[in-house]
């Protein structure tokens, strides 16, 4: 496991509950929701659920207000009675529990502990259904927040090759709006660090806080070193200066990281001797990047390159 010491676990729990009570359901829920109206025939609702591979849907009336939930359990009952042509409104579970979009994840956890429902409709202040939230949504969101994303399947591989969408901010990595771009020269170990120092100069010229610049350049240095030492491919450093944070994305198209969990361990390295002679390969790269960035997301798998995103918040906004 990644958290070996009890201390780390305590810290994790503490920081998580802080996040739980700050994050609203709106940020986590699936939207737009898949919904049906009371008049929809059960037969049709069943088909939607089969195609969408979901186990239940909110039911709304013509004013888009929440009326109930139709679940697989309800549909089984309809099957037994042979009433598939009935409207959903007749068979749905009424008086369902729902969440407001402004509720926090804490509320979800409390509700879920008592009710054990698979999914909850999410409504806005006009009681209109704006989303659905499931335990899976929370789990997925949690993994993203923790910054560990394992990529072993095709879907994730496709997202790697598409316009990269940040798992943290859900923004597109829009290369038209970026503030700084650098190509990483991967042919020469001796060139390691030139990109990071250039980035440091650029940020210093923008009058960005000295300590922040230092953290960013150190993290960028490690990322650059990783591309040169490990990827065997060219790479890029992108930098965006936003209102409340600076975002770095470092990408390469090389052999990728086979075992992410190992790579996150301090002291683990696959670097060759000629690299170690230059003072690298200590297995501190990824731990250092984690140490100096506020949020870090890394996506990689064997032979599919590495995409690394790091966020650095301006002081006072994050803590």
């Amino acid at each position: 496991m990644m958290f070996e010491q009890k201390n780390d676990v305590d810290k994790l729990v503490e920081s998580l509950s802080k996040i739980f009570s700050k994050t609203s359901i709106e940020d986590v829920m699936t939207k737009p929701p898949i919904i049906v109206t009371e008049e929809t025939r059960v037969q049709q609702a069943k088909d939607i659920m089969r195609v969408k591979m979901i186990s239940g849907m909110p039911v709304i009336n013509r004013n888009l207000s929440l009326r109930g939930i139709i679940s697989i359990e309800d549909i089984i009952k309809v099957f037994e009675k042979g009433k598939l042509n009935d409207p959903v409104g007749k068979w749905m579970t009424k008086n369902t529990f729902y969440l407001n979009k402004d509720d926090t994840i804490m509320k979800f956890l409390e509700l879920n502990e008592k009710r054990k429902f698979g999914r909850y409709p999410v409504v806005n202040n006009d009681m209109r259904v704006v989303g659905v939230v499931t335990k899976l949504d929370i789990l997925e969101w949690l993994f993203k927040k923790l910054g560990y994303i394992y990529v072993h399947d095709k879907i994730r591989f496709d997202t790697l090759n598409k316009n990269y969408i940040s798992s943290i901010t859900e923004e597109n990595t829009d290369t038209n709006t970026l503030d700084y771009k650098l190509k990483i020269n991967y042919n020469n170990v001796e060139m390691i660090g030139l990109g990071a120092t250039k980035l440091k100069k650029f940020l210093t010229d923008k009058n960005i806080d000295k300590d922040l610049v230092r953290r960013i350049s150190i993290a960028a240095y490690e990322a650059e070193a990783n591309v040169v030492i490990h990827s065997e491919s060219e790479g890029n450093i992108f930098c965006w200066i936003k209102d409340d944070h600076i975002k770095l994305v470092i990408e390469d198209f090389g052999k990728g990281i086979e075992d992410l969990e190992l790579a996150f361990k301090e002291g683990f390295s696959t670097a060759q001797e000629h690299v170690r002679e230059k003072g690298f390969g200590a297995g501190m790269g990824i731990p250092n990047m984690k140490r100096f960035s506020d949020r870090m997301t890394l996506i990689s798998s064997s032979n599919k390159g590495v995409k690394l995103e790091m966020l650095f918040f301006f002081k006072n906004k994050e803590d």
Partner: protein, 122 residues
Amino acid sequence: MKIEEIVKILKAKEIFIPEEIKDFDIEYAGASDLMSDVLAFSRENMFLITGLASPQTITTAAVIGAKGIIFARGKEIPNKVIEIAKEFEITLISTKLSMLMVCVVLHNSGIKDAMGTERELE
């Protein structure tokens, strides 16, 4: 401590001394050949003691905001390395003393550990 004095007590050779370092009060130093360690545990304005004379030593010093580098064991410093140091205004001196001796001499003269590990001894 001024750079002039450090050069004297280490019997060091001046390789590159930028104008602005001459009045600077040097307080902290750290020693390592492992650049990742330097990146992880460093302090602004420190002096880096190392036996590694590669461009990475300079770029590492540049990103952590170190003021200068003390090369131990009389290392030969390639011209390329000196050129990069000039670009980033990083002081370079070289001494025949080993890393241990550089550390001992500097610490005895009041230079503090950049990592602040003296605390462990208390």
